[in-house]
C-alpha cells in the first residue's frame, strides 16, 4: 500500500477553510485556561484594636485545587510588604495573624496572593487592598429594653416573659461581647438566671438554654440585641430585680450592667374577653318571637378565657329594656340565652338575678352564647338595656 505524501494543495478551497476553522476551534479550546486562578471571598478581621494580634482571613475556592498564598501587609507604613514565605493552604482559608501598629487611628492595609496546583495566581486583592483603621478600647453602652426598667412587670407564675437588652460598642473596639441575664432579690441583679428547668425563682426556658449569650465581635458603633425567654417559677407575691450584664473578651473593657427592672410574680389572673359589645336585634314587630339575635347564626357572641387566667365561672343577668321617653319597658325575662346551641328550645330566660352561664372554663377556651327576644305588645320606640356577664374564679361566689 502506498501512502501518499501529505499535500496541502491536494485539498479543495472549502476543505482548507474547514480545516482552518477546525484548527482554530481546537486551539482555542485547548489553549483556554483549563485551571482558573483561585477566587476569594469573606474577607474579615477579628479586631482593630491597636497594638494587638489581629487575624486577617479570606476564604478561597478553586476549580483544580488550592496550593498556597503569600500575605502582604501594610502596618501603617504606607506600603505593602509581602511575607517572606509562601504558605500552603490547609483548608480553604488564608488566616494570618499580625500584631498591628499600636498607634490609634492609622490605616492598616492587607491583601493576599494565592495560587492553585496549576500555579495560576490571583493577585486581584492587592490591586485594591483591604483596609481598616486601628482603634482604641471601647466601652459597652447597655440598655434593658424589656421589661421596662421604669415600671413593675407582673409576671404570671409558671408562665414565661421576655428579657431583651441591647449593647452598643462606643469609642473604640469591644472584641467579643457577651450578655448574661441576672436577677436578685432586692438590690442590683448579681446572680445568673438558672438554665435548669423548674429552678426558682426563674429559669431560662429555651432549647438549648443559655444564660450567657454572645454578640460576637463588636467594633465601634456596632450594636447587638440579646433575648431570653424566662419562666417565672418563684413564689406568688414575691418581687425580684432582673437585668443583663454585658462583658467583653478584652480584659481592659469593664463589664456593664443594664438598669434593673422589677418583676412581681402574681397568681393566675381573672382575664376574659367578650368578643362583642352590644346586640342589635333590629326592627321588630310587637307580639312576635322568638326573634333571633343577628349574630346567632354566625356564632358571634363568643367569650374567651385568656391564657394565664384561672379557671372561671361565668354568670349572666340583665336589666329591663327601657324607653324612658315613653316610660315603657320590655321585661328582661323576654330575652333568652343559650350556651349550648343556636336553638331557642334550649335557651333560658334572662333574669335580673345572676344565673350560671358556664362553669369551670379553662384558659384558652372560647365558648359561644346565643340570644333571642320575645317582643311583648308595647309602644313603638327604641328600647335599651344591659346584659351583665360576670367572670369569677372557679368555685367562688359571684355575689
Amino acid at each position: 500500500m502506498k501512502i501518499k505524501a501529505f499535500s496541502w494543495k491536494a485539498f479543495s478551497f472549502t476543505q482548507k477553510i474547514f480545516f482552518i476553522v477546525f484548527f482554530i476551534f481546537f486551539m482555542t479550546l485547548f489553549s483556554s485556561d483549563a485551571s482558573a486562578a483561585p477566587i476569594y471571598s469573606l474577607n474579615s478581621t477579628n479586631s482593630t484594636l491597636a497594638g494587638t494580634f489581629v487575624l486577617h482571613s479570606l476564604n478561597w475556592t478553586d476549580d483544580v485545587g488550592l496550593s498556597g498564598y503569600i500575605f502582604s501587609f501594610d502596618n501603617c507604613t504606607g506600603s505593602l510588604v509581602n511575607d517572606s514565605s509562601w504558605a500552603s493552604f490547609s483548608g480553604t482559608w488564608s488566616n494570618v495573624t499580625k500584631i498591628i501598629n499600636s498607634t490609634v487611628g492609622c490605616i492598616i492595609k492587607w491583601c493576599v496572593y494565592a495560587n492553585d496546583t496549576s500555579d495560576d495566581w490571583n493577585s486581584t486583592s492587592c490591586n485594591d487592598p483591604f483596609s481598616y483603621t486601628t482603634s482604641q478600647l471601647g466601652y459597652l453602652e447597655v440598655n434593658l429594653t424589656n421589661p421596662d426598667a421604669s415600671g413593675i412587670l407582673n409576671a404570671i407564675q409558671n408562665l414565661t416573659f421576655n428579657i431583651n437588652a441591647t449593647v452598643t460598642c462606643r469609642n473604640g473596639t469591644c472584641g467579643n461581647v457577651f450578655g448574661t441575664a441576672m436577677y436578685n432579690l432586692s438590690s442590683s441583679p448579681d446572680t445568673a438566671i438558672s438554665i435548669t428547668e423548674g429552678d426558682k425563682p426563674f429559669y431560662v426556658q429555651e432549647d438549648p438554654a443559655n444564660v450567657e449569650k454572645t454578640c460576637g465581635i463588636l467594633n465601634q458603633g456596632d450594636s447587638c440585641q440579646l433575648n431570653w425567654t424566662v419562666n417565672a417559677t418563684g413564689d406568688v407575691n414575691t418581687g425580684w430585680k432582673i437585668g443583663v450584664m454585658f462583658n467583653s473578651s478584652y480584659t481592659g473593657i469593664q463589664s456593664n450592667n443594664t438598669n434593673s427592672a422589677t418583676i412581681s410574680i402574681i397568681p393566675c389572673t381573672q382575664d376574659f374577653t367578650l368578643q362583642w359589645n352590644s346586640i342589635n336585634f333590629g326592627l321588630l314587630n310587637p307580639s312576635t318571637g322568638p326573634n333571633s339575635a343577628p349574630g346567632n347564626s354566625d356564632n358571634q357572641y363568643n367569650i374567651t378565657v385568656n391564657s394565664g387566667s384561672c379557671n372561671l365561672d361565668f354568670y349572666i343577668k340583665g336589666t329591663n329594656l327601657v324607653n324612658t321617653t315613653l316610660n315603657s319597658q320590655i321585661g328582661i325575662g323576654n330575652l333568652t340565652w343559650s350556651n349550648n346551641s343556636n336553638n331557642y328550645s334550649e335557651s333560658f330566660n334572662l333574669s335580673s338575678n345572676l344565673n350560671a352561664l358556664k362553669m369551670n372554663v379553662t384558659q384558652g377556651v372560647c365558648f359561644t352564647t346565643w340570644y333571642w327576644i320575645n317582643v311583648p305588645p308595647v309602644y313603638s320606640g327604641y328600647y335599651n338595656g344591659n346584659i351583665y356577664i360576670f367572670g369569677v374564679e372557679n368555685g367562688k361566689s359571684p355575689a
Partner: protein, 215 residues
Amino acid sequence: MVKVLLKISAIFIFLILLSSGAYAINLGSVTRNSFAEISNGESTKFTMLFWNSESEPYDVRLLVKDSPKDWIVIIDPDEFMLNKSIGEEYINLPYSNENVKAKAVNIFVKPDNFSKPGKYSVTVKTETNLNQNESNQLSIIPERLFTFEIDLKGLTTSDNIVESKVKIPTNEIETKNDSLESYYLKVDDKTDKKYFYLAIVSLVVIVSIIIYKKS
C-alpha cells in the same frame, strides 16, 4: 282599655338599634392578696391590678358592695379609664406580644375599734362604663366582684398599720401608705392630746385640792 289598645295597635317597635359596631371587650384583673390577718386597731391594704388588652378604652368604677358596719374602706383610685397604655405597672400576658399596662388599685381597710375578733369580709364591685354614646342598644358589660377576707384578732398595744405582704418596692405604694399613715397619725395625735388635756386638768385639780387643804 284605651292604653291597652294603643299598646296592641303599635305596629313597629325599634328595638335596641344603633349599636356602634361590635368590638371586643377585655377586662383583666388579679388580686395580689385577698386575705389579711390583723389585730384590732390595725389596718391593712389589698392591691389589685386591672388591665384592658383591647384597643377600645372604657371607664372602670370600683365601689364597696359590702363591708362590716363602721369599718373604713378606702379604694384608691375608685374610678379610672382603662386601656392598654394606662397604668403604672405592666403585666406580661401570654396572648399579647407586648407587655400591657396595668392599673394598680389599693384598698385600705380599717376595722372599727369595737369590732369583735373574728373573720370578716369586704366585697368590692367593679362596674364598667363602655362609653357607648348611642342610647339605643343592648350593651354587654363585663362585671366583677372581689371579696377580701380579714381575720381580726384581739387588741394590740399599739395602733400599727399592717402592710400587706407584697414585697414590691414601689414609691407610689409607699407614698400612699405614707398618706394613710399620716391619716392615722392625726387620729393618734388627737388621742394623745386628749390624754394630755386630761392629765393637765387632773394636775390642776390635785394642786387645787392641796392648796385648799393647806389653806
